[in-house]
């Protein structure tokens, strides 16, 4: 009987370990090419308590540099963002963040108000797979799933990624048990520049009204912050595209007024920020490059320090140690990308995908 129990335990252990190993092998690593899928998970590696947490889509994680905010204002911040991060995903990330560390301020970029329904499985995965299991994650999955998705495939990612068996590459083996850092406290860096020329005007829409679902989560986000005594600041990043309509802007202004919130539309402050669209974007106006991100961070850093009195925490030994490592990586990445630019005319070396 004892032997049978032992045999049973061994069989279960081998089976589970085998499944775990195959899952690890087949899940996408996001270590080259599309890096955004690796960003949500990196947050859990940061042991510090943040004063400011930015939550939103690419208009945050490509436009704000937490390293700059730390170096120049002593603001300890993190960007919890991923590609096409929908408002309900941002809400549940905020909920999880508040449970974990209780920041003083949450900055939310409002572009995702334009989406009222679940959009795309691949983007969902990039946001949701990286989250640690919690009620917030379950709720976020429920809110995000498109018709083709199933909760079971989130619980057992092998069922989703099994078909990658014929797409395995070197990275899948190299990053089987670990990941490199791809962001700098959530910031996705690009040093190259591609001037914004002929940015298209927004096409007229039939209906400019943001959807009920989007408003529902914005309201929930406001309530969550209020209940937890967290300052909520709404922002619209200065990206020129996707187009931000005046009608949309007015709705955000009204919402902020009605709820006594700060709303900053950086599109209206481009001159004050000092943005030069010939130099400060790497993709023709969709996202800022390092130069643009640091200009925006400088401008926003002033607001955060002076208007919102976010403390300067330089001098705290643990934080200094932590940020030293991030700064080193930050500088190394700048050097790497600039080196590649000089050598190959692209931030990517030829062997990168």
């Amino acid at each position: 009987m004892f032997k049978k129990i032992i045999a049973g335990i061994i069989i279960v252990a081998i089976s589970v370990a085998g499944l775990g190993l195959v899952t690890k092998l087949l899940e996408p690593k996001y270590m080259s090419g599309i890096l955004e899928g690796a960003m949500i998970k990196e947050y859990y590696d940061d042991p510090t308590e943040h004063d400011v947490v930015f939550i939103g889509d690419c208009e945050l994680y490509e436009n704000i540099s937490p390293v700059y905010l730390w170096e120049n204002y002593g603001i300890n911040s993190y960007i919890r963002g991923s590609a096409q991060q929908l408002i309900w995903q941002s809400y549940y990330l905020a909920e999880e963040t508040i449970k974990r560390e209780h920041p003083d301020m949450i900055v939310f970029n409002v572009l995702s108000m334009k989406y009222n329904e679940p959009q795309n499985e691949a983007y969902n995965r990039m946001t949701l797979d990286g989250m640690k299991w919690s009620k917030s994650k379950v709720d976020s999955i429920k809110a995000s799933m498109t018709d083709e998705e199933n909760m079971v495939e989130y619980a057992f990612p092998l069922l989703r990624y099994h078909s990658r068996w014929n797409d395995l590459n070197e990275d899948d083996f190299k990053y089987l048990f670990h990941r490199d850092k791809v962001s700098f406290n959530g910031y996705y860096m690009r040093v190259d520049a591609k001037a914004a020329e002929d940015v298209p005007e927004g096409k007229p829409l039939v209906d400019y009204q943001f959807g009920d679902n989007a408003y529902y989560y914005l309201q929930k986000l406001k309530d969550l912050c209020k209940e937890n005594d967290v300052e909520l600041v709404l922002v619209k990043a200065p990206s020129l595209y996707p187009y931000w309509y005046d009608e949309w802007d007015k709705q955000m202004v009204d919402f902020a007024d009605d709820n006594n919130l700060t709303y900053i539309n950086f599109l209206d402050l481009q001159d004050e920020i000092g943005l030069d669209w010939a130099e400060d974007t790497y993709d023709g106006g969709l996202h800022l490059n390092l130069s643009g991100a640091e200009k925006l961070s400088k401008y926003f850093g002033n607001i955060l320090s002076e208007d919102f009195k976010v403390p300067d925490r330089r001098g705290e030994k643990d934080l200094e140690n932590y940020w030293k490592t991030v700064e080193n990586r930050y500088d190394a990445e700048i050097a790497r990308q600039q080196g590649n630019l000089e050598k190959y005319g692209s931030v990517h070396s030829p062997d990168e995908k």
Binding site: R160, H162, S163
Partner: protein, 530 residues
């Protein structure tokens, strides 16, 4: 709820757990609840149809059975009081009443099947006729629901009714037990078409948890999933591409499509039946086997004794034999022998009965002409094969190849090719197009047409074809081993680590190489449509 859906697997786990946790007396009533829940989840409206069939068949069979029994008792006591002729008359009178009940129930339920499944097919044909006579205003089509598995449960119920009517067994006394026999969820949507006396032996019995039975059932389910997900649903992509573009994929590609479809249908249908039998087995219930390695058959007749066995025997027992033995056929036999001679005349009623059986088999598979032509195609091939029997005998007397491996292999390949050709009617679902594509195999095939890159444009990569090929090899090897007994039984005798490697390997292969989830459209089992 598809067998391969997460919902079905979740449903199974819940049913399985409750089945063994509740008192054994409550096991079969619980299965009835589970079966009706399964049906309810598909579409609540379906329940009305299956309930009506269950109720009418139960009461009709019970009435017939009770009357038979009561009459037999009465007759035993009183038969001495009557002369021979009077006894005959009494029996005939009694039988006449039973026959009326029987026919009323049979026609009513077959009527439901006919109306739900064949109304629009009839309208389409009437409209074609009207159009041929210059009437442009046809009859409008009707929007009727076709309850899931109606062909299967109607045939199963009618088989039961016929058996009771023929006195093969007594009617079931418990309405709920009968309702379970009709609706038993693993076999509800794609068969097998079980016989009451077989299924009832274990369906209503009390089952205690037995690890060996349960593990054998789970192994069978896993094997079914492997066939369905790894082989059938993967090659399905190429089958769809070939069928969908007949102008591009003709000639050799049409032949390849027919062969791919042969593989897909086999893996799909037998995979589904494996899951059905496996699910029942985990609960200690024995469901009849429906396949015995049909692609190893040496002729079409043998093939039909090994493929979809329960359907074949149903048609044989409940259509072929009654028609062959009917008074009409007896008279026809007499007349044809008198006019055409004994040799030819005796074949007329047999061929006519076969014709009816194959016509019905065809239309049972689907309300469209391609299925009817497919059915009649089988009839023609079987008849030709029978007519050529003297030639075969002559041939074997001259050429002594019978019994050799080469000859047996030739017979097997010939059968597969003939059946795959006939199945092209099922593939293309259009009779003229099927003939055109079949013709193109002989007129357009050529080495110049053969371009392997074209196969990569059908939605599958070389890796996919490799998976299908390996899957097919595994199928063949398992079938070869199976000839000398149960494969699961043989594996069970191996050392525990070997057993673990085999079953865990199969599980992992199914999980990794299965064509399911996002990127693959959920494919219904082909026989669910009947």
């Amino acid at each position: 709820m598809l067998f391969t859906s997460y919902e079905f697997i979740g449903f199974l786990i819940i049913v399985f757990a409750i089945y063994y946790l509740i008192p054994k007396k409550a096991q079969w009533p619980f299965l009835l609840v589970a079966s009706y829940t399964f049906y309810l989840l598909a579409d609540p409206r379906y329940l009305i149809f299956i309930a009506i069939t269950s109720l009418t068949t139960f009461y009709a069979a019970k009435l017939i059975s009770d009357k038979k029994e009561a009459f037999d008792v009465w007759f035993k006591e009183h038969k001495k009081e009557y002369e021979k002729e009077e006894r005959k008359a009494l029996k005939a009178k009694e039988h006449s009443l039973e026959k009326k009940i029987f026919l009323a129930c049979l026609l009513f339920n077959l009527g439901i099947l006919a109306v739900t499944k064949y109304t629009n097919f009839t309208i389409a044909n009437v409209n074609s006729l009207l159009s041929a006579f210059g009437r442009a205003d046809g009859i409008s089509f009707v929007n009727l629901i076709i309850p899931m598995g109606i062909s299967f449960y109607t045939f199963q119920s009618m088989g039961y009714l016929i058996d009771v009517y023929n006195g093969k067994h007594k009617a079931q006394d418990n309405l709920f037990k009968f309702a379970l026999f009709v609706s038993f969820f693993p076999q509800l949507v794609q068969g097998p078409i079980s016989r009451y006396h077989e299924l009832s032996e274990t369906l209503f019995a009390e089952h205690k948890f037995d690890w060996k039975t349960v593990s054998f059932g789970l192994e069978r389910i896993l094997w079914g999933f492997f066939k369905k997900l790894v082989i059938a649903d993967r090659i399905l992509v190429a089958v769809k591409a070939i069928i969908g573009e007949p102008d591009t994929y003709n000639g050799f590609y049409a032949f390849a499509g027919a062969m791919f479809y042969a593989l897909e249908l086999y893996a799909d249908f037998t995979g589904g039946i494996d899951i059905t039998i496996g699910v029942a087995e985990t609960m200690g219930i024995k469901v009849t086997e429906n396949f015995i390695r049909p692609y190893f058959s040496k002729n079409i007749k043998e093939y039909w004794n090994r493929w979809h066995i329960t359907m074949g025997t149903w048609f044989t027992d409940y259509i072929f034999y009654p028609i062959s033995a009917s008074q009409f056929m007896m008279k026809l036999s007499k007349k044809s022998r008198a006019r055409l001679g004994n040799n030819l005349g005796k074949r007329v009623p047999v061929y006519l009965s076969s014709f009816i059986v194959w016509f019905t088999t065809g239309i049972w598979h689907g309300a469209s002409w391609n299925f009817i032509v497919w059915g009649l195609g089988n009839f023609v091939v079987i008849m030709i094969s029978q007519e050529l029997e003297p030639f075969y005998r002559w041939f074997h007397s001259k050429v002594h190849v019978a019994g050799t491996f080469g000859w047996r292999l030739f017979q097997v390949i010939r059968t597969v090719l003939i059946m795959s050709s006939l199945r092209m009617f099922d593939c293309y679902r259009d009779v003229p197009l099927t003939f055109k594509m079949f013709g193109s195999i002989f007129t357009k095939s050529g080495l110049s047409q053969l371009n392997l890159e074209s196969f990569m444009e059908m939605g599958l990569t070389n890796y996919d074809y490799a998976v299908v090929f390996v899957g097919m090899v595994v199928l063949v090897v398992v079938s070869l081993i199976q000839r000398s007994g149960s494969v699961r039984g043989k594996i069970a005798t191996l050392a525990a680590p070997v057993r673990f490697i085999i079953w865990y390997g199969l599980f992992m292969a199914t999980i990794i190489f299965g064509a399911y989830g996002i990127g693959y459209s959920a494919s219904q089992f082909i026989y669910n449509q009947f």
